[in-house]
């Protein structure tokens, strides 16, 4: 499955650590400007894949290309990386840490300072810039870690669990920032365990379990593939006597309705209208991603 304008291309990549197969022939492509979900249970091989893309470790087989080329120093300068575990100089002041990590991406100190100030304001921690990192709360340290990733204004962002330690308000703040960055054409590789965030942020996903690819593609297609022909109906109708449906489950004022084999959704909708009941909403029901995640992991283990 080829992504339009692929910026990262991983082809048949394998990596072993002694006798442990960390990644086994993984292949996927990430398009420019998309938010791409990298999913998998703990220890599945996500971090190894990220480290392979970043050239922190070398693959035993296969190839990884950034903009069609093997990764070079120029590419490294254009990639911002937020690791799963916080990596900051805890005794140093926030601004000094941001300046140093930004400059290591080959960006001038003036630009780094200006970007850092903008991001500190945007993430509402501007007043903490002269405080040592160790004095900050975990949530604010995570925000500093995020700013360290974007302070050099990179084209590609690799975010491994960026929402760790954040409360719902700050999760929302960060989600909005990621969406804004993607809207500006930045490519985001997002590895998270909150499937609801993947559903709201990502268009395409790659899922790995025990080093092997188990899912890859358009999120909507995947959800459709794993969903039975069912509809979420919010109405006052009584489904008991309907010959078109196989079964239904009621929850609050709505019901999930499973149609019989071969029944067209339009026919069911017509029945609903003709029944005289007031219809508030009628939409296709999709299996939530976390349900698919559990099912896929269980099946592939």
């Amino acid at each position: 499955m080829v992504a339009p304008n692929a910026i990262i291309s991983v082809q048949e990549v394998s990596k072993n650590f002694s006798s442990v197969v960390a990644v086994d022939r993984a292949s996927f492509e990430i398009g420019s400007g998309e938010i791409f979900g990298l999913l998998g249970p703990n220890g599945a091989g996500k971090t190894t894949l990220i480290r392979l893309i970043l050239d922190l470790i070398r693959p035993d087989a296969g190839s990884i290309r950034i903009q069609g080329q093997p990764i070079s120093e120029t590419h490294k300068n254009r990639i911002g990386y937020l690791p799963e575990e916080r990596g900051l100089y805890f005794r140093q002041k926030v601004m000094a840490v941001l300046e140093y990590l930004g400059m290591l991406k080959g960006v001038s100190i003036e630009r780094v300072r200006s970007n850092a100030r903008d991001w500190l304001k945007r993430l509402e921690i501007d007043d903490l810039r002269n405080r040592p990192v160790q004095e900050l709360s975990k949530g604010n340290q995570q925000k500093v870690q995020f700013i360290a990733t974007v302070v050099s204004d990179p084209d590609i962002l690799i975010l491994d669990e960026p929402f760790t330690g954040l409360d719902p308000i700050n999760v929302h703040l960060l989600v909005r920032s990621i969406q804004e960055l993607a809207a500006k054409g930045k490519t985001v590789v997002l590895s998270v365990h909150q499937m609801s965030l993947v559903e709201s942020l990502c268009r395409r996903v790659f899922m790995i379990n025990r080093g092997r690819q188990v899912l890859y593609g358009d999120l909507e297609d995947i959800q459709n593939r794993y969903s039975e022909p069912s509809f979420l109906v919010r109405s006052g109708a009584d489904f008991q006597g309907c010959e078109l449906i196989d079964r239904f489950t009621s929850h609050n004022a709505a019901a999930t309705v499973y149609l019989k084999q071969g029944v067209e959704p339009a026919r069911f909708l017509r029945w609903l209208v003709e029944s005289g009941a007031e219809v508030e909403s009628f939409q296709r029901a999709r299996t939530p991603l976390d349900e698919i995640f559990i099912r896929v992991v269980r099946d592939s283990s």
């Binding site: 922190l56 470790i57 990386y81 100089y89 805890f90 140093y100 290591l104």
Partner: protein
């Protein structure tokens, strides 16, 4: 290069503002100088006090051989040395007693430091019984009046039997005048004690401070890398720079901090000491070679410490691992006395040709005098080879060990990482 410079600048600034660095820079020389001064004062005062507390020595001469009128003539002749080791010479007065009990009573009262008993058959037996009071450890180390009594015995036994000059030479066989012959054949007096002590102490202090600089700077590198691994910053750094760039930046920054330390010691301590007190007898060539060994030693240990810093899970664990390098390199320090006495022995040369012991040994040898050119060449060559291997190995470990957390790796694993990277 700008990335290497950014790393170098940060490492330098972080290091020179560390409390440990500032203490080593200002505190260590002060403590060393103060310690030496205090030790010298203390030992002088202790001996002086000890002797002052001893008092005169009583003599019971049952053999009737002593002529007390000769006592003044038996005082030691002052040395030509203008600065004798004061407080060490035994200047005790001898007091004659007829009755041993009376003398022992005075000893118990503390009026006497010791009592000598020459029995009637002294001339045949030569036996002299010495009584001393229990007065702590120094009363056992000092022998009050023994030298005076020996001199008085020699004078009394020879007086009237030999010529006056012969008696004088028996009492004082010679006045030694120390001359020194340089390699160029220049002969000059050896100088006073301060100069003689300085000739040894000046270069030794310089050797000590230079050695400290090597291990402090490379120790900071170990600590810094171990901390960056522990707090996971290293993963972010390696996503921006290559392992070689990171290692180079760190080595340059910490090396500069080490050199600043050396420059401080040389400009503020060694130079004034050599100008004012003539303590430094090293030639400019020896000083330059010493500085070269400081740089080479630093580069070698920086490479080794960087690699070791990556192997532990915490900085404490890495420091424990690094003991193997510091202990090995310090072996010449433990044998310093022997190596300084025989700086060209096979042992000194062997240590000079082994990379781990070469920096300390060569600094030690250079502090004692000139070192043959062939030794300098061979030790420099092995050191450069050692540096290349250590730095290459450390750069390889950055790629693998820096991301490994948890169990401390076994030697076999380390070898595999070095091969694979």
């Amino acid at each position: 290069m700008s990335k290497v410079w950014a790393i170098c600048k940060r490492e330098f600034l972080v290091t020179v503002t560390r409390k440990g660095y500032l203490f080593t820079l200002f505190g260590l020389p002060l403590i060393m100088i103060g310690g030496l001064f205090a030790a010298s004062l203390l030992s002088r005062e202790t001996l002086r006090d000890s002797q002052a507390n001893q008092g005169p020595a009583g003599v019971v001469d049952r053999a009737r051989v002593l002529d007390y009128s000769l006592q003044a003539a038996t005082r030691p002749i002052r040395s030509t040395n203008p600065l004798p080791v004061s407080g060490v010479g035994d200047q005790s007065e001898l007091v004659a007693y007829d009755d041993l009990d009376k003398a022992l009573a005075d000893l118990r009262k503390g009026d006497l430091g010791s009592v000598f008993l020459l029995e009637a058959d002294y001339l045949q037996s030569g036996d002299i019984v010495v009584y001393s009071a229990e007065k702590g450890i120094f009363s056992q180390l000092t022998r009050t009046g023994r030298r005076q009594l020996s001199a008085l015995l020699r004078a009394s036994l020879t007086s009237g039997r030999l010529e006056k000059e012969v008696v004088a030479r028996i009492l004082t066989p010679g006045r030694f005048k120390q001359m020194q012959v340089s390699k160029q054949g220049r002969i000059q007096p050896e100088g006073n004690l301060l100069k003689r002590v300085g000739r040894f102490l000046g270069p030794f202090i310089m050797f000590f401070l230079l050695t400290i600089s090597i291990f402090m700077s490379s120790g900071y590198l170990l600590q810094g890398i171990a901390e960056e691994k522990q707090n996971r910053v290293i993963e972010i750094l390696l996503s921006s720079v290559t392992p070689t760039q990171l290692l180079m930046g760190k080595m340059m920054g910490l090396g500069a901090a080490g050199l600043l330390q050396v420059a401080f010691y040389v400009v503020l301590l060694v130079l004034p000491a050599s100008l004012l007190l003539t303590l430094m007898t090293l030639s400019p060539g020896q000083i330059l070679l010493s500085l070269m060994y400081v740089v080479l030693g630093y580069l070698l240990f920086a490479g080794l410490m960087a690699g070791t810093g990556l192997l532990g899970n915490t900085s404490q664990e890495s420091q424990q691992l690094s003991v193997i390098w510091t202990m090995t390199s310090m072996i010449p320090m433990f044998l310093a006395a022997s190596l300084m006495q025989q700086p060209h022995s096979w042992l000194a040369r062997s240590f000079s040709f082994f990379p781990l012991t070469a920096p300390v040994t060569m600094l030690l040898r250079l502090s004692t005098g000139e070192v043959p050119a062939v030794d300098v060449l061979v030790s420099t060559a092995v050191l450069i080879l050692g540096i290349v291997l250590a730095v290459k190995g450390a750069a390889r470990l950055f790629r693998t060990a820096s991301l490994m957390h948890g169990k401390r790796p076994r030697l076999r694993e380390v070898y595999r990482w070095l091969k694979e990277a």
